[in-house]
Amino acid sequence: MEHPSYDTKNIISYHGPINIDLVSFISNYLRQHIRANSSVVGRIYKVLIELIQNVSYYSAEQYSNVRSFGSGIGYFRVYEAPEHYIITTGNKILSEHNTILRQNSEEINRLGEEELRELKRKTRTQANIRDIGAHIGLIQTGLLTGNQIELKFDPIDELYSYFTISAKVNKEI
């Protein structure tokens, strides 16, 4: 994964509470300000919403004074590298979730497109309508980008880790 360097350009970064109105504002801001063809911008839009809504819903750190649901505190960044746009999100999670997240992402990275579509259909059919879960958002990210998803877990203390995920959207579709 490319990391910020001389040949990358930061487009937007943010840390704080993420609610639906911020998701809407940021995604539409990006749609208007990224100079790429509309298919690429559309994919960035779709991937960003899936990933930052996962932070909003499932971050272990919630801005609960304001809302009871969908106000997770976390981080996101979108930047441009020579071949890709890179979307990174980060949030605090219970370390006990590290293993399942790692297993899920390894499965997504291992599967081909048709197998991923099959996994998405199976996951969607079995999902609870009240809480579909974070897994399908990661599957969708793998499908939309066609690239490997990168995960990182940094221990915070005995209970929590800081979970970072990065996805690359190709400039050429």
Partner: protein
């Protein structure tokens, strides 16, 4: 039974506009769909379709004009299609038209996945600019 209409809200573009017409059977979803707790928004739509198409057996034409929907909303769209499949299996005439943007490289696969999951056939219609 009454028509179900939910107007678009410019400040909340994550809710689609809904127009389910009891007289014509034309049911339209238009805009984007990525709201929180999607089931709360979609439950009245599912209940309306159950009564209209399954219980009262009215012909339905569902027109999907969504330019974006997240995976959470796709779960509820799947429920909507399952209801229409049930109606079709019981003899109700059902048509689903999916309007798509020409520059969306992913929509054909999305719709094909819904067809595989439900056994319904969707008509793909290009959106006009």
């Amino acid at each position: 039974m009454k028509s179900l209409n939910i107007e678009a809200i410019p400040d909340s573009p994550y809710y689609p506009e809904v127009s389910f017409d009891v007289e014509t059977g034309i049911c339209v979803l238009r805009g984007e769909s990525y709201m929180e707790e999607a089931y709360k928004f979609y439950m009245p739509l599912l209940d309306w379709l159950k009564q209209y198409a399954v219980e009262e057996k009215h012909t339905v034409t569902l027109e999907i004009k969504l330019t974006y929907f997240n995976t959470n909303s796709s779960r509820l769209l799947l429920d909507m299609f399952d209801i229409l499949k049930k109606a079709e299996d019981h003899g109700t005439k059902v048509k689903i038209k999916w309007y798509y943007e020409a520059d969306d490289p992913d929509i054909q696969d999305e719709v094909e996945d819904f067809e595989i999951e439900t056994g319904l056939k969707f008509e793909m219609v290009p959106m006009e600019d």
